[in-house]
Symmetry: C2
Subunit: 563 residues, 2 copies
């Protein structure tokens, strides 16, 4: 039996920050110097996803220099790092590959090019890369033959894994930039375990961590043994170096048609490194962690420290305030209460209580004067005082203007607080409550907002979101006695319908066959379709589902399909 020491290095690489990413890699080299192999995530030096940065020849060439800088720092521990390799031609994918460089002893000893390029959901890799076609190679590291793949390579039927194993690989290593969606960790574990079990070879799976625009890379790197058991794990959502000794059964040397690059021989070690166990997160803890990570990284990677948000006394802004305080520290969150003539006393009290409990800065601006002034201007121009949705939107937009002015004057980012149920049906005001830099809970349906609020209240330190806020009927408070359920079905009905229509790509006929009432199906799906023009102008926000609004669900705005 042989034993190889492998470090799983989860980095929070920042898109485009080549110098910073190189420093991030160099910063762990001391920690991994006793290992045979340190495995970094997909696109380690560049960040991921790069989108059309890949089409810029100068960028790709700078990435190559960054890889060479990392390689120059490498020693006896082989490093596997991800980068875009090649030269873009004619602003197209022609020429660039999604690559893994094997670095050792001061130089690059080999490069693998990803073969399976995902081009669905949030992925556009057929736009940005061409698939690898070169003959596969193995790398003898610590005396063990290692085969490398990149992310999607592990998930496809016609995978390079089979050829690597047939060629004599004794260890498989996958570098990944795999974004979170609900249930994704279990999907990954199943694929990694099945690959190990079916090939009889251990698999090392290393994932990126951190938020990038709408995506959160949740880490959770792992090792599966040849029996398909997950025998080592890295934490979720945080940078980590996890070192693990992997035992390799001595197998008779099989014949191989794969060129094997000799990198390093076996090392005698007396100790046996076993990483500490990682407890699984319950679904609410995981989801909350995703939202905190996304918010923290969007704000800090954009160069900001502080955020502001409108606090209404409702559940959505309460949850977002709690997430922001957890992500950035209570000192960096500024709540603005902006009651109008229709705001209830309990809303103002509830919002104040929440801000006090969270320990965040708060201020109150009664918008009546601005509201009255704008109504007067509009009355003069329109010949009558605006009522109905015109007046409701007006109040929301005054709040948007005030929040943005605070952000402009103070150098803060505005967080928006709309949830997915609202965004789906357009129950929001464009340039009003949708105005801001980051939409923290845009992919969270209303019922899940409640779940997350209750989960946060159950954490050490005690409840932060009062029972008042949780139990009162949802209302936009833009006209007297307004309640969400006057315009929308109850969320217990609405959310499953929306999920079937949006995530499930069901037609109206399908939904009626699923048991939803025909009239409601017509009304709700029509609202969803009509709100496409709003969603196209709303800020990016955390994706947590298999189909978030954003890069994920790309529908035409002009669209007369009613099926």
């Amino acid at each position: 039996m042989s034993r190889v020491r492998v470090a799983m290095v989860q980095t929070n690489s920042v898109v485009g920050d080549l110098d910073g990413n190189v420093e991030r890699i160099r910063g762990v080299l001391d920690q991994v110097s006793g290992c045979d192999l340190a495995v970094f995530p997909e696109m380690t030096v560049a960040g991921y996803p790069l989108e059309d940065l890949v089409l810029k020849p100068g960028f790709v060439s700078d990435c190559r220099s960054a890889v060479e800088a990392v390689a120059a720092s490498s020693g006896s521990c082989a490093l596997v790092i991800g980068f875009p390799d090649g030269t873009p031609r004619d602003s197209s994918a022609d020429g660039v590959q999604n690559a893994a460089a094997v670095c050792h002893d001061g130089g690059v000893v080999g490069v693998y090019h990803k073969r399976a390029l995902p081009n669905y959901d949030v992925f556009d890799e057929a736009r940005h890369f061409v698939p690898g076609v070169e003959p596969l190679r193995l790398y003898e590291i610590g005396g063990i033959r290692v085969g490398f793949v990149v992310c999607e390579d592990l998930w496809v039927a016609d995978s390079p894994v089979g050829s690597l194993v047939e060629g004599g690989a004794e260890l498989l290593v996958a570098i990944n930039g795999s974004p979170f969606h609900r249930g994704m960790l279990a999907e990954r574990e199943a694929v990694v375990a099945a690959t190990a079990a079916s090939s009889g070879v251990p698999v090392v799976y290393v994932n990126l961590v951190g938020g990038q625009d709408e995506l959160v890379f949740d880490g959770g790197s792992m090792v599966a043994d040849p029996a398909g058991r997950i025998v080592a794990r890295a934490p979720r959502f945080e940078e980590a170096v996890v070192i693990v000794d992997i035992d390799i059964d001595d197998v008779p040397a099989s014949e191989t048609n794969l060129l094997t690059v000799r990198v390093s021989g076996p090392v005698d070690r007396t100790d046996h490194v076993v990483p500490p166990p990682i407890d699984p997160l319950d679904p609410s803890a995981e989801l909350y962690g995703v939202l905190v990570t996304a918010t923290r990284d969007y704000v800090t990677k954009s160069g900001f420290t502080d955020v502001c948000l409108g606090l209404s006394g409702g559940i959505d802004s309460a949850l977002v305030a709690a997430i922001a305080a957890d992500a950035l520290g209570a000192d960096h969150v500024h709540a603005v209460l902006m009651p109008s003539r229709y705001s209830s006393g309990h809303s103002i009290a509830d919002a104040n209580d929440l801000a006090a409990t969270l320990g965040i800065d708060r201020r109150t601006i009664h918008i009546e004067a601005a509201h009255a002034s704008l109504l007067a201007l509009l009355e003069e121009s329109l010949g009558e005082v605006p009522v109905g949705s015109t007046d409701e939107n007006l109040q929301a937009r005054i709040r948007g203007v005030l929040l943005m002015a605070h952000a402009n004057a103070s150098g803060w980012l505005v967080l928006t607080t709309g949830n997915k149920s609202e965004s789906a049906v357009g129950y929001s005001t464009l340039y009003g409550d949708t105005a801001g830099a980051f939409a923290v809970i845009k992919d969270i349906y209303k019922l899940t907002v409640y779940e997350l609020a209750r989960w946060r209240n159950s954490q050490p330190g005690g409840p932060v979101i009062s029972e008042n806020i949780i139990s009162k009927p949802p209302s936009a408070e833009l006209r007297p006695d307004q309640r969400d359920d006057q315009s929308l079905p109850p969320y217990e009905v609405l959310d499953p319908l929306l999920e079937a229509y949006i995530e499930g790509d069901r037609t109206r006929a399908d939904l009626v066959a699923d048991g939803f009432g025909g009239e409601m199906v017509d009304r709700v799906t029509r609202l969803v379709d009509l709100a496409e023009f709003k969603r196209r102008q709303t800020p990016p926000g955390t994706r947590v589902s298999r189909k978030g609004f954003g890069r994920d669900r790309r529908l035409p705005i002009v669209n007369r399909y009613r099926g």
Copy 2:
């Protein structure tokens, strides 16, 4: 020699409007009944691009029914119509193809599946379709062997055209959904002519017309003879049926491995139909036509009739007002003048004159009262009166709020008036002047705005945009004596720099090597990068360049690359 009579039918198919698109096809069947073949554009029954509608199984199945409805109406004239064919599986492209159906005498006699799927620029066909792989076929129509391809098939090196010609095709027919960008018509003509000349076979090229979200399909269908001459053309930007007799040299029947479907035999005709010549458009006329088409179709296909816009007295809003009046009729355009304390008297006069010349509705709202009211609220909250960009943005946002209230109250769409130079460097206020449904000139650099204004003034009926508006120095008028050139380089320098950075994907180092000053390059490219978060929240607008902001240029918002 044989002669075949072909109708080129440019339809303005509406995305998702299956019933309407079928009616549009049926509406021309009388006109083409004397032809052997009527050629319709790509995705005739569905509209194009469909984006993720294709992932909805029910939609694709409804499209198949629409094709069958068209086929049922077909007679002796064969119809070639485009549609999505197949069944999407697992919300992915697996299973759907971009297809052309050959319909004749009441049924579908064959289907061709597009082989080359464009996946660059605005195209995402690798996301939505799988390529055709079935053996190629020829169709004997009017006694002539015809080979069919779809759009990109004509443009790629490894094209099905070669096999069709080797297989004995005597006529090639391409159905297309080819969007406009500047210079595109010449590119298309070159490809069509080269295909005909190199294969020695005439080529019929039929393109879609009309606007769909950001894209304009500009028509310009054509026929090339075997010498590579364009011998027939259809008009630009409008629906048309153009009938042309195409002479086919009798060639000795070559051996073929292609199955040939017998559709119809030769028809004896005594007349010879030659379509009227189409004069080429000069570049400004073409560009103006694109903007009018995009505006008209975005508004009307969204179910609206009227638009409003803020008229500042500057050149941008003046041009947009003229385009809107030409697109929708002056009666359907509503100008709102919203002077602030910093607006100049000449701006108000110029805006009023323009509205009067165009004959559009106009109203003036002095925003001072709302401005003062909001400043007072902000002073109380912030501890000081907002100044600088906070106050400038405030004025722009008050205008956005007022315009949106007019739109909400009156059922109008808001047109925004920002140009590409401004959008590039972020010289705009999010939720202020960027607030609206459609950004008419978002892909037009400032210098081109002037060209288009001058061109429009040269048209019959006389000038509409006064020399005052054209000759005064550009200013946002958001602080005393403000002028664009205080913040930005002159547009004569800025526009070429922006074009090189954006369309050319040049890095800072490249741009300095190109001869631009280093300090200016750093400042301008940084502005472009920082404004990405704004552009992501701005409305769709007409794409006219090879790289418009929108679906075309997909950069991360969080992006630290400074090269």
